[in-house]
Subunit: 252 residues, 2 copies
Amino acid sequence: MAASRYNKIVNISQLRKACRACSLRDLCLPVGLSTDDVQKLESIVNVRGPLERGTHLFREGDRFQAIYAVRSGALKTYSIDSEGREHVLGFHLPGELLGLDAIYPRVNRCSAVTLDSASICIMPFNRLERLAQDVPGLQHQILRLMSKDLSVSSDRATDHTAEEKLAGFLLGLSLRTGGKADLTLVMPRRDIASYLRLATETVSRLFARFQKKGLIQVRRKRVELIDIAGLEAIGGNCDIAAYGGYRQPLPN
Amino acid sequence: MAASRYNKIVNISQLRKACRACSLRDLCLPVGLSTDDVQKLESIVNVRGPLERGTHLFREGDRFQAIYAVRSGALKTYSIDSEGREHVLGFHLPGELLGLDAIYPRVNRCSAVTLDSASICIMPFNRLERLAQDVPGLQHQILRLMSKDLSVSSDRATDHTAEEKLAGFLLGLSLRTGGKADLTLVMPRRDIASYLRLATETVSRLFARFQKKGLIQVRRKRVELIDIAGLEAIGGNCDIAAYGGYRQPLPN
DNA sequence: CGAGTACTTGACCCAGATCAAGCCATGTGG
DNA sequence: CCACATGGCTTGATCTGGGTCAAGTACTCG
Protein backbone atom coordinates (compact mmCIF):
# COMPACT_ATOMS: atom_id res chain seq x y z
CA MET A 1 0.00 0.00 0.00
CA ALA A 2 1.05 3.51 -0.77
CA ALA A 3 0.77 4.66 2.81
CA SER A 4 3.39 2.30 4.19
CA ARG A 5 6.07 3.99 2.19
CA TYR A 6 5.48 7.06 4.30
CA ASN A 7 4.93 5.15 7.47
CA LYS A 8 8.26 6.09 8.94
CA ILE A 9 8.75 9.55 7.53
CA VAL A 10 9.41 10.33 11.15
CA ASN A 11 11.78 7.47 11.79
CA ILE A 12 14.37 6.86 14.41
CA SER A 13 17.45 7.62 12.35
CA GLN A 14 16.09 10.90 11.01
CA LEU A 15 15.17 11.99 14.49
CA ARG A 16 18.50 10.99 15.90
CA LYS A 17 20.18 13.28 13.45
CA ALA A 18 17.79 16.04 14.41
CA CYS A 19 18.40 15.63 18.08
CA ARG A 20 21.39 17.06 19.87
CA ALA A 21 22.46 17.45 23.44
CA CYS A 22 21.08 20.55 25.13
CA SER A 23 22.16 22.82 27.93
CA LEU A 24 20.00 24.43 30.56
CA ARG A 25 18.51 27.23 28.50
CA ASP A 26 18.07 25.07 25.45
CA LEU A 27 14.45 24.11 26.09
CA CYS A 28 11.93 22.95 23.54
CA LEU A 29 9.98 26.11 23.71
CA PRO A 30 12.47 28.74 22.49
CA VAL A 31 13.31 26.79 19.34
CA GLY A 32 13.05 29.12 16.40
CA LEU A 33 12.75 32.29 18.46
CA SER A 34 14.96 35.36 18.07
CA THR A 35 17.18 36.18 21.04
CA ASP A 36 14.91 39.13 21.61
CA ASP A 37 11.84 36.92 21.87
CA VAL A 38 13.67 34.44 24.06
CA GLN A 39 14.33 37.31 26.42
CA LYS A 40 10.63 38.14 26.55
CA LEU A 41 9.94 34.50 27.32
CA GLU A 42 12.55 34.50 30.05
CA SER A 43 10.90 37.50 31.66
CA ILE A 44 7.77 35.48 32.48
CA VAL A 45 9.60 32.34 33.61
CA ASN A 46 10.16 31.50 37.26
CA VAL A 47 12.87 29.04 38.07
CA ARG A 48 12.47 26.62 40.94
CA GLY A 49 14.89 24.14 42.35
CA PRO A 50 16.90 22.15 42.85
CA LEU A 51 13.99 20.11 44.17
CA GLU A 52 14.89 16.90 45.91
CA ARG A 53 13.75 13.54 44.65
CA GLY A 54 10.12 12.83 45.41
CA THR A 55 8.95 16.45 45.39
CA HIS A 56 5.57 17.05 43.81
CA LEU A 57 5.35 19.83 41.25
CA PHE A 58 1.59 19.58 41.11
CA ARG A 59 -1.09 17.07 41.99
CA GLU A 60 -4.16 15.65 40.32
CA GLY A 61 -7.03 17.99 41.10
CA ASP A 62 -4.90 21.12 41.56
CA ARG A 63 -6.14 24.16 39.74
CA PHE A 64 -4.22 24.61 36.51
CA GLN A 65 -1.99 27.66 36.55
CA ALA A 66 1.23 27.04 34.73
CA ILE A 67 3.13 25.08 32.16
CA TYR A 68 6.40 23.61 33.39
CA ALA A 69 9.66 22.91 31.63
CA VAL A 70 12.35 20.63 32.99
CA ARG A 71 15.76 22.30 33.30
CA SER A 72 17.59 19.39 34.85
CA GLY A 73 16.75 16.08 36.44
CA ALA A 74 13.67 14.09 35.53
CA LEU A 75 10.01 13.83 36.50
CA LYS A 76 7.16 11.45 35.98
CA THR A 77 3.49 12.28 35.63
CA TYR A 78 0.93 9.79 36.90
CA SER A 79 -2.69 9.46 37.85
CA ILE A 80 -4.47 7.30 40.39
CA ASP A 81 -7.48 5.34 39.18
CA SER A 82 -10.68 4.61 41.07
CA GLU A 83 -9.15 1.41 42.48
CA GLY A 84 -6.24 3.42 43.84
CA ARG A 85 -3.73 2.10 41.34
CA GLU A 86 -1.07 4.37 39.91
CA HIS A 87 -0.70 4.77 36.13
CA VAL A 88 2.44 6.45 34.87
CA LEU A 89 1.55 8.78 32.02
CA GLY A 90 4.95 10.05 31.06
CA PHE A 91 8.58 10.73 31.88
CA HIS A 92 9.90 14.23 31.43
CA LEU A 93 13.54 14.95 30.76
CA PRO A 94 15.52 18.18 30.52
CA GLY A 95 14.10 20.50 27.90
CA GLU A 96 10.65 18.96 27.92
CA LEU A 97 7.29 20.38 28.94
CA LEU A 98 4.67 19.27 31.47
CA GLY A 99 1.13 20.27 32.20
CA LEU A 100 -0.22 20.80 28.69
CA ASP A 101 -3.07 18.39 29.27
CA ALA A 102 -4.46 20.59 32.04
CA ILE A 103 -5.28 23.55 29.81
CA TYR A 104 -8.63 22.16 28.81
CA PRO A 105 -10.10 21.05 32.10
CA ARG A 106 -8.35 23.88 34.00
CA VAL A 107 -7.49 21.30 36.59
CA ASN A 108 -4.48 19.03 36.61
CA ARG A 109 -5.46 15.59 35.44
CA CYS A 110 -2.32 14.03 36.79
CA SER A 111 0.38 14.52 39.41
CA ALA A 112 3.99 15.32 38.65
CA VAL A 113 6.84 14.22 40.89
CA THR A 114 10.61 14.44 40.57
CA LEU A 115 12.44 11.17 39.96
CA ASP A 116 15.67 12.67 41.16
CA SER A 117 16.92 16.09 42.12
CA ALA A 118 15.52 18.46 39.50
CA SER A 119 15.12 22.09 38.63
CA ILE A 120 12.16 23.47 36.79
CA CYS A 121 10.94 26.49 34.85
CA ILE A 122 7.46 27.65 35.71
CA MET A 123 5.54 29.57 33.07
CA PRO A 124 2.25 31.03 34.30
CA PHE A 125 -0.20 30.02 31.60
CA ASN A 126 -2.09 33.25 31.14
CA ARG A 127 1.13 35.19 30.76
CA LEU A 128 2.48 32.60 28.36
CA GLU A 129 -0.71 32.77 26.36
CA ARG A 130 -0.56 36.55 26.21
CA LEU A 131 3.06 36.41 25.12
CA ALA A 132 2.24 33.86 22.45
CA GLN A 133 -0.26 36.36 21.13
CA ASP A 134 2.61 38.78 20.45
CA VAL A 135 5.27 36.32 19.41
CA PRO A 136 4.16 34.22 16.44
CA GLY A 137 7.12 31.91 16.78
CA LEU A 138 6.13 31.09 20.32
CA GLN A 139 2.54 30.32 19.42
CA HIS A 140 3.80 28.15 16.63
CA GLN A 141 6.19 26.30 18.88
CA ILE A 142 3.54 25.63 21.52
CA LEU A 143 1.23 24.22 18.87
CA ARG A 144 3.99 22.02 17.51
CA LEU A 145 4.93 20.65 20.89
CA MET A 146 1.35 19.86 21.77
CA SER A 147 0.91 18.28 18.40
CA LYS A 148 3.93 16.08 18.98
CA ASP A 149 2.69 14.97 22.38
CA LEU A 150 -0.54 14.13 20.64
CA SER A 151 1.15 11.82 18.13
CA VAL A 152 3.21 10.14 20.78
CA SER A 153 0.30 9.64 23.09
CA SER A 154 -1.80 8.27 20.32
CA ASP A 155 0.95 5.88 19.27
CA ARG A 156 1.16 4.79 22.86
CA ALA A 157 -2.57 4.14 22.73
CA THR A 158 -2.23 1.76 19.79
CA ASP A 159 -1.63 -1.94 19.97
CA HIS A 160 1.94 -3.17 20.42
CA THR A 161 3.52 -6.30 21.84
CA ALA A 162 5.53 -6.08 25.03
CA GLU A 163 8.77 -6.40 23.05
CA GLU A 164 7.84 -3.58 20.70
CA LYS A 165 6.96 -1.33 23.59
CA LEU A 166 10.17 -1.87 25.49
CA ALA A 167 12.39 -1.61 22.43
CA GLY A 168 10.59 1.58 21.41
CA PHE A 169 10.94 2.90 24.93
CA LEU A 170 14.68 2.36 25.02
CA LEU A 171 15.22 3.87 21.59
CA GLY A 172 13.09 6.88 22.45
CA LEU A 173 14.90 7.37 25.71
CA SER A 174 18.21 7.27 23.92
CA LEU A 175 17.03 9.92 21.46
CA ARG A 176 15.80 12.15 24.20
CA THR A 177 19.05 12.00 26.10
CA GLY A 178 21.12 13.05 23.13
CA GLY A 179 21.29 9.90 21.06
CA LYS A 180 23.88 8.16 23.22
CA ALA A 181 23.94 4.39 23.29
CA ASP A 182 24.31 4.12 27.03
CA LEU A 183 21.41 5.11 29.17
CA THR A 184 20.83 5.62 32.83
CA LEU A 185 17.31 4.67 33.77
CA VAL A 186 16.29 7.25 36.33
CA MET A 187 12.95 5.55 36.84
CA PRO A 188 12.43 2.24 38.65
CA ARG A 189 11.25 -0.84 36.73
CA ARG A 190 7.82 -0.53 38.26
CA ASP A 191 7.35 2.88 36.61
CA ILE A 192 8.60 1.71 33.23
CA ALA A 193 6.18 -1.19 33.45
CA SER A 194 3.27 1.03 34.41
CA TYR A 195 4.07 3.44 31.62
CA LEU A 196 4.12 0.62 29.07
CA ARG A 197 1.08 -1.13 30.56
CA LEU A 198 3.11 -4.17 31.51
CA ALA A 199 3.88 -6.00 34.74
CA THR A 200 7.19 -5.23 36.43
CA GLU A 201 8.13 -8.87 36.02
CA THR A 202 7.55 -8.70 32.28
CA VAL A 203 9.88 -5.72 31.94
CA SER A 204 12.49 -7.57 33.92
CA ARG A 205 12.17 -10.66 31.76
CA LEU A 206 12.33 -8.60 28.58
CA PHE A 207 15.56 -6.94 29.72
CA ALA A 208 16.95 -10.42 30.27
CA ARG A 209 15.72 -11.60 26.89
CA PHE A 210 17.10 -8.56 25.02
CA GLN A 211 20.43 -9.08 26.74
CA LYS A 212 20.52 -12.76 25.80
CA LYS A 213 19.81 -11.76 22.19
CA GLY A 214 22.76 -9.38 22.31
CA LEU A 215 20.60 -6.31 21.82
CA ILE A 216 21.48 -4.58 25.06
CA GLN A 217 23.68 -4.85 28.12
CA VAL A 218 21.81 -4.27 31.38
CA ARG A 219 23.31 -3.68 34.76
CA ARG A 220 20.84 -2.31 37.25
CA LYS A 221 20.05 1.27 36.13
CA ARG A 222 22.69 1.27 33.38
CA VAL A 223 21.59 0.06 29.97
CA GLU A 224 23.84 0.00 26.96
CA LEU A 225 22.21 -0.32 23.55
CA ILE A 226 24.44 -2.75 21.67
CA ASP A 227 22.47 -3.55 18.55
CA ILE A 228 20.45 -0.47 17.70
CA ALA A 229 19.43 -1.77 14.29
CA GLY A 230 18.12 -4.90 15.99
CA LEU A 231 16.11 -2.83 18.47
CA GLU A 232 14.72 -0.73 15.66
CA ALA A 233 13.65 -3.88 13.85
CA ILE A 234 11.61 -4.76 16.92
CA GLY A 235 10.33 -1.43 18.12
CA GLY A 236 11.22 0.99 15.39
CA ASN A 237 7.69 2.03 14.57
CA CYS A 238 6.90 2.72 18.18
CA ASP A 239 7.25 6.36 19.24
CA ILE A 240 6.24 5.29 22.66
CA ALA A 241 9.07 6.72 24.68
CA ALA A 242 8.92 10.12 23.17
CA TYR A 243 6.22 11.51 25.41
CA GLY A 244 7.45 14.82 26.68
CA GLY A 245 9.19 15.28 23.44
CA TYR A 246 12.10 15.31 21.17
CA ARG A 247 14.31 18.24 21.85
CA GLN A 248 14.40 19.55 18.29
CA PRO A 249 11.77 19.78 15.59
CA LEU A 250 12.28 17.81 12.41
CA PRO A 251 14.94 19.13 10.07
CA ASN A 252 13.14 22.01 8.43
CA MET B 1 -5.80 9.43 49.22
CA ALA B 2 -6.57 13.07 48.65
CA ALA B 3 -6.13 12.86 44.92
CA SER B 4 -8.93 10.39 44.38
CA ARG B 5 -11.48 12.91 45.54
CA TYR B 6 -10.58 14.95 42.51
CA ASN B 7 -10.23 11.99 40.25
CA LYS B 8 -13.45 12.64 38.43
CA ILE B 9 -13.58 16.41 38.49
CA VAL B 10 -14.21 15.92 34.83
CA ASN B 11 -16.86 13.27 35.23
CA ILE B 12 -19.52 11.96 32.97
CA SER B 13 -22.46 13.72 34.53
CA GLN B 14 -20.79 17.12 34.61
CA LEU B 15 -19.83 16.76 31.02
CA ARG B 16 -23.25 15.60 30.00
CA LYS B 17 -24.69 18.80 31.39
CA ALA B 18 -22.05 20.78 29.54
CA CYS B 19 -22.76 19.13 26.23
CA ARG B 20 -25.65 20.08 24.03
CA ALA B 21 -26.75 19.26 20.52
CA CYS B 22 -25.16 21.44 17.88
CA SER B 23 -26.11 22.68 14.46
CA LEU B 24 -23.83 23.06 11.46
CA ARG B 25 -22.08 26.26 12.42
CA ASP B 26 -21.75 25.29 16.06
CA LEU B 27 -18.25 23.83 15.88
CA CYS B 28 -15.81 23.43 18.74
CA LEU B 29 -13.59 26.12 17.46
CA PRO B 30 -15.79 29.24 17.61
CA VAL B 31 -16.79 28.62 21.23
CA GLY B 32 -16.27 31.82 23.14
CA LEU B 33 -15.71 34.01 20.08
CA SER B 34 -17.59 37.19 19.28
CA THR B 35 -19.78 37.08 16.17
CA ASP B 36 -17.24 39.40 14.62
CA ASP B 37 -14.41 36.99 15.25
CA VAL B 38 -16.49 34.08 14.06
CA GLN B 39 -16.91 35.95 10.81
CA LYS B 40 -13.15 36.33 10.48
CA LEU B 41 -12.83 32.61 11.07
CA GLU B 42 -15.46 31.87 8.46
CA SER B 43 -13.54 33.91 5.94
CA ILE B 44 -10.66 31.48 5.95
CA VAL B 45 -12.78 28.32 5.97
CA ASN B 46 -13.48 26.27 2.89
CA VAL B 47 -16.44 23.96 2.96
CA ARG B 48 -16.33 20.66 1.16
CA GLY B 49 -18.97 18.05 0.75
CA PRO B 50 -21.16 16.24 0.93
CA LEU B 51 -18.49 13.60 0.48
CA GLU B 52 -19.71 10.08 -0.01
CA ARG B 53 -18.88 7.30 2.41
CA GLY B 54 -15.35 6.01 1.99
CA THR B 55 -13.84 9.27 0.73
CA HIS B 56 -10.38 10.09 2.04
CA LEU B 57 -9.87 13.56 3.43
CA PHE B 58 -6.14 13.02 3.72
CA ARG B 59 -3.72 10.13 3.86
CA GLU B 60 -0.77 9.13 5.96
CA GLY B 61 2.29 10.74 4.45
CA ASP B 62 0.46 13.68 2.86
CA ARG B 63 2.01 17.05 3.46
CA PHE B 64 0.21 18.80 6.32
CA GLN B 65 -1.73 21.82 5.12
CA ALA B 66 -4.97 22.21 7.00
CA ILE B 67 -6.98 21.48 10.08
CA TYR B 68 -10.41 19.99 9.39
CA ALA B 69 -13.69 20.27 11.23
CA VAL B 70 -16.61 17.92 10.76
CA ARG B 71 -19.85 19.70 9.80
CA SER B 72 -21.97 16.62 9.38
CA GLY B 73 -21.48 12.88 9.11
CA ALA B 74 -18.57 11.07 10.70
CA LEU B 75 -14.98 10.14 9.97
CA LYS B 76 -12.34 7.85 11.33
CA THR B 77 -8.62 8.38 11.43
CA TYR B 78 -6.32 5.38 11.18
CA SER B 79 -2.77 4.40 10.47
CA ILE B 80 -1.24 1.32 8.89
CA ASP B 81 1.61 -0.35 10.78
CA SER B 82 4.68 -2.00 9.33
CA GLU B 83 2.83 -5.32 9.14
CA GLY B 84 0.09 -3.69 7.11
CA ARG B 85 -2.47 -3.78 9.89
CA GLU B 86 -4.89 -0.90 10.35
CA HIS B 87 -5.14 0.85 13.72
CA VAL B 88 -8.10 3.15 14.24
CA LEU B 89 -6.95 6.27 16.09
CA GLY B 90 -10.20 8.11 16.48
CA PHE B 91 -13.75 8.78 15.40
CA HIS B 92 -14.73 12.31 14.54
CA LEU B 93 -18.29 13.56 14.85
CA PRO B 94 -19.94 16.84 13.88
CA GLY B 95 -18.27 19.81 15.51
CA GLU B 96 -14.98 18.03 16.11
CA LEU B 97 -11.51 18.66 14.69
CA LEU B 98 -9.07 16.48 12.79
CA GLY B 99 -5.47 16.81 11.81
CA LEU B 100 -4.00 18.43 14.90
CA ASP B 101 -1.38 15.72 15.27
CA ALA B 102 0.15 16.63 11.92
CA ILE B 103 1.29 20.11 12.96
CA TYR B 104 4.51 18.84 14.46
CA PRO B 105 5.83 16.51 11.79
CA ARG B 106 4.28 18.63 8.98
CA VAL B 107 3.14 15.38 7.46
CA ASN B 108 -0.06 13.55 8.21
CA ARG B 109 0.60 10.68 10.54
CA CYS B 110 -2.70 9.04 9.82
CA SER B 111 -5.37 8.83 7.15
CA ALA B 112 -8.88 10.18 7.51
CA VAL B 113 -11.87 8.63 5.77
CA THR B 114 -15.59 9.30 5.93
CA LEU B 115 -17.71 6.66 7.64
CA ASP B 116 -20.80 7.93 5.93
CA SER B 117 -21.76 10.88 3.80
CA ALA B 118 -20.09 13.87 5.43
CA SER B 119 -19.34 17.53 4.91
CA ILE B 120 -16.23 19.20 6.19
CA CYS B 121 -14.70 22.57 6.93
CA ILE B 122 -11.13 23.00 5.76
CA MET B 123 -8.97 25.55 7.57
CA PRO B 124 -5.59 26.16 5.95
CA PHE B 125 -3.21 25.97 8.87
CA ASN B 126 -1.02 28.97 8.17
CA ARG B 127 -4.05 31.20 7.77
CA LEU B 128 -5.58 29.77 10.93
CA GLU B 129 -2.35 30.34 12.78
CA ARG B 130 -2.15 33.93 11.58
CA LEU B 131 -5.74 34.52 12.58
CA ALA B 132 -5.14 33.03 16.00
CA GLN B 133 -2.39 35.60 16.37
CA ASP B 134 -5.00 38.36 16.11
CA VAL B 135 -7.86 36.70 17.90
CA PRO B 136 -6.89 35.69 21.44
CA GLY B 137 -10.08 33.71 21.90
CA LEU B 138 -9.23 31.58 18.90
CA GLN B 139 -5.70 30.86 20.08
CA HIS B 140 -7.11 29.95 23.46
CA GLN B 141 -9.71 27.65 21.97
CA ILE B 142 -7.18 25.84 19.78
CA LEU B 143 -4.96 25.25 22.80
CA ARG B 144 -7.88 23.95 24.82
CA LEU B 145 -9.02 21.57 22.13
CA MET B 146 -5.53 20.19 21.65
CA SER B 147 -5.19 19.87 25.39
CA LYS B 148 -8.40 17.90 25.58
CA ASP B 149 -7.33 15.55 22.82
CA LEU B 150 -4.16 15.09 24.81
CA SER B 151 -6.01 13.99 27.94
CA VAL B 152 -8.27 11.68 26.04
CA SER B 153 -5.47 10.12 24.12
CA SER B 154 -3.43 9.64 27.25
CA ASP B 155 -6.37 8.05 29.04
CA ARG B 156 -6.77 5.78 26.05
CA ALA B 157 -3.11 4.88 26.50
CA THR B 158 -3.61 3.73 30.08
CA ASP B 159 -4.56 0.29 31.24
CA HIS B 160 -8.24 -0.67 31.19
CA THR B 161 -10.14 -3.94 30.95
CA ALA B 162 -12.18 -4.68 27.86
CA GLU B 163 -15.41 -3.95 29.78
CA GLU B 164 -14.17 -0.58 30.97
CA LYS B 165 -13.14 0.37 27.49
CA LEU B 166 -16.41 -0.50 25.85
CA ALA B 167 -18.55 1.05 28.59
CA GLY B 168 -16.44 4.21 28.44
CA PHE B 169 -16.72 4.21 24.68
CA LEU B 170 -20.51 4.01 24.71
CA LEU B 171 -20.83 6.70 27.36
CA GLY B 172 -18.46 8.98 25.52
CA LEU B 173 -20.27 8.46 22.27
CA SER B 174 -23.53 9.31 23.93
CA LEU B 175 -22.07 12.54 25.30
CA ARG B 176 -20.68 13.52 21.97
CA THR B 177 -23.97 13.01 20.18
CA GLY B 178 -25.87 15.23 22.53
CA GLY B 179 -26.30 13.07 25.60
CA LYS B 180 -29.09 10.91 24.18
CA ALA B 181 -29.49 7.38 25.44
CA ASP B 182 -29.94 5.83 22.03
CA LEU B 183 -27.01 5.73 19.74
CA THR B 184 -26.45 4.84 16.14
CA LEU B 185 -23.04 3.29 15.65
CA VAL B 186 -21.84 4.70 12.36
CA MET B 187 -18.69 2.62 12.55
CA PRO B 188 -18.48 -1.15 12.08
CA ARG B 189 -17.57 -3.43 14.99
CA ARG B 190 -14.16 -4.02 13.52
CA ASP B 191 -13.35 -0.31 13.82
CA ILE B 192 -14.65 -0.08 17.38
CA ALA B 193 -12.52 -3.07 18.24
CA SER B 194 -9.43 -1.63 16.61
CA TYR B 195 -9.94 1.70 18.35
CA LEU B 196 -10.23 -0.01 21.73
CA ARG B 197 -7.39 -2.45 21.03
CA LEU B 198 -9.71 -5.45 21.18
CA ALA B 199 -10.69 -8.21 18.78
CA THR B 200 -13.96 -7.78 16.88
CA GLU B 201 -15.21 -10.95 18.55
CA THR B 202 -14.56 -9.50 21.98
CA VAL B 203 -16.59 -6.41 21.20
CA SER B 204 -19.40 -8.59 19.96
CA ARG B 205 -19.31 -10.72 23.10
CA LEU B 206 -19.24 -7.65 25.33
CA PHE B 207 -22.30 -6.21 23.62
CA ALA B 208 -24.04 -9.51 24.32
CA ARG B 209 -22.86 -9.51 27.92
CA PHE B 210 -23.91 -5.91 28.54
CA GLN B 211 -27.29 -6.69 27.09
CA LYS B 212 -27.73 -9.76 29.26
CA LYS B 213 -26.86 -7.63 32.29
CA GLY B 214 -29.57 -5.19 31.29
CA LEU B 215 -27.12 -2.35 30.69
CA ILE B 216 -27.90 -1.81 27.03
CA GLN B 217 -30.17 -2.97 24.25
CA VAL B 218 -28.31 -3.75 21.02
CA ARG B 219 -29.81 -4.25 17.66
CA ARG B 220 -27.24 -4.07 14.89
CA LYS B 221 -26.14 -0.43 14.66
CA ARG B 222 -28.70 0.80 17.16
CA VAL B 223 -27.65 0.78 20.80
CA GLU B 224 -29.87 1.99 23.60
CA LEU B 225 -28.21 2.76 26.91
CA ILE B 226 -30.63 1.38 29.49
CA ASP B 227 -28.69 1.55 32.73
CA ILE B 228 -26.38 4.54 32.44
CA ALA B 229 -25.41 4.44 36.12
CA GLY B 230 -24.43 0.81 35.66
CA LEU B 231 -22.30 1.66 32.65
CA GLU B 232 -20.67 4.50 34.55
CA ALA B 233 -19.86 2.12 37.38
CA ILE B 234 -17.96 0.00 34.86
CA GLY B 235 -16.39 2.56 32.56
CA GLY B 236 -17.00 5.88 34.25
CA ASN B 237 -13.38 6.78 34.69
CA CYS B 238 -12.60 6.10 31.08
CA ASP B 239 -12.63 9.13 28.80
CA ILE B 240 -11.80 6.81 26.00
CA ALA B 241 -14.53 7.67 23.56
CA ALA B 242 -14.04 11.36 23.73
CA TYR B 243 -11.22 11.56 21.22
CA GLY B 244 -12.11 14.27 18.77
CA GLY B 245 -13.77 16.06 21.55
CA TYR B 246 -16.64 17.18 23.62
CA ARG B 247 -18.57 19.85 21.86
CA GLN B 248 -18.48 22.34 24.71
CA PRO B 249 -15.80 23.31 27.18
CA LEU B 250 -16.41 22.64 30.83
CA PRO B 251 -18.94 24.92 32.50
CA ASN B 252 -16.97 28.09 32.95
C1' DC C 1 -32.77 -13.95 -4.84
C1' DG C 2 -27.92 -14.74 -4.54
C1' DA C 3 -23.29 -13.04 -3.09
C1' DG C 4 -20.76 -10.59 -0.26
C1' DT C 5 -19.93 -8.47 4.05
C1' DA C 6 -20.80 -7.68 8.85
C1' DC C 7 -21.80 -9.77 12.90
C1' DT C 8 -22.23 -13.55 16.36
C1' DT C 9 -21.02 -17.69 18.89
C1' DG C 10 -18.23 -21.57 20.37
C1' DA C 11 -13.74 -24.02 21.21
C1' DC C 12 -9.21 -23.54 22.07
C1' DC C 13 -4.77 -21.04 22.81
C1' DC C 14 -1.22 -17.86 24.34
C1' DA C 15 1.11 -13.41 25.80
C1' DG C 16 1.52 -11.49 29.58
C1' DA C 17 -0.44 -11.19 34.52
C1' DT C 18 -0.23 -12.88 39.03
C1' DC C 19 1.68 -15.40 42.77
C1' DA C 20 5.68 -16.87 45.20
C1' DA C 21 10.38 -17.24 46.38
C1' DG C 22 14.79 -15.72 46.31
C1' DC C 23 18.58 -12.16 45.28
C1' DC C 24 21.32 -8.12 45.70
C1' DA C 25 22.39 -3.30 46.59
C1' DT C 26 22.17 0.25 49.82
C1' DG C 27 21.41 2.05 54.40
C1' DT C 28 21.27 1.87 59.57
C1' DG C 29 22.35 0.90 64.11
C1' DG C 30 25.06 -1.61 67.32
C1' DC D 1 32.86 -2.94 60.25
C1' DC D 2 29.50 -6.18 60.20
C1' DA D 3 24.51 -8.03 60.98
C1' DC D 4 20.43 -7.44 59.10
C1' DA D 5 16.49 -4.82 57.36
C1' DT D 6 14.35 -2.78 53.47
C1' DG D 7 13.01 -2.08 48.92
C1' DG D 8 14.08 -2.88 44.16
C1' DC D 9 14.90 -6.41 41.01
C1' DT D 10 14.97 -11.18 39.04
C1' DT D 11 13.31 -15.79 38.11
C1' DG D 12 10.16 -19.70 38.14
C1' DA D 13 5.39 -21.75 38.20
C1' DT D 14 0.85 -21.18 37.21
C1' DC D 15 -3.34 -18.78 35.66
C1' DT D 16 -6.42 -16.04 32.74
C1' DG D 17 -8.43 -12.23 29.82
C1' DG D 18 -8.78 -11.68 25.63
C1' DG D 19 -6.98 -13.30 21.02
C1' DT D 20 -7.35 -16.58 17.25
C1' DC D 21 -9.54 -19.91 14.50
C1' DA D 22 -13.64 -21.83 12.72
C1' DA D 23 -18.47 -22.12 11.82
C1' DG D 24 -22.51 -20.35 11.39
C1' DT D 25 -26.26 -16.40 10.82
C1' DA D 26 -28.29 -12.19 9.15
C1' DC D 27 -28.35 -7.93 6.82
C1' DT D 28 -27.65 -5.39 2.49
C1' DC D 29 -27.31 -4.35 -1.96
C1' DG D 30 -26.89 -5.46 -6.58
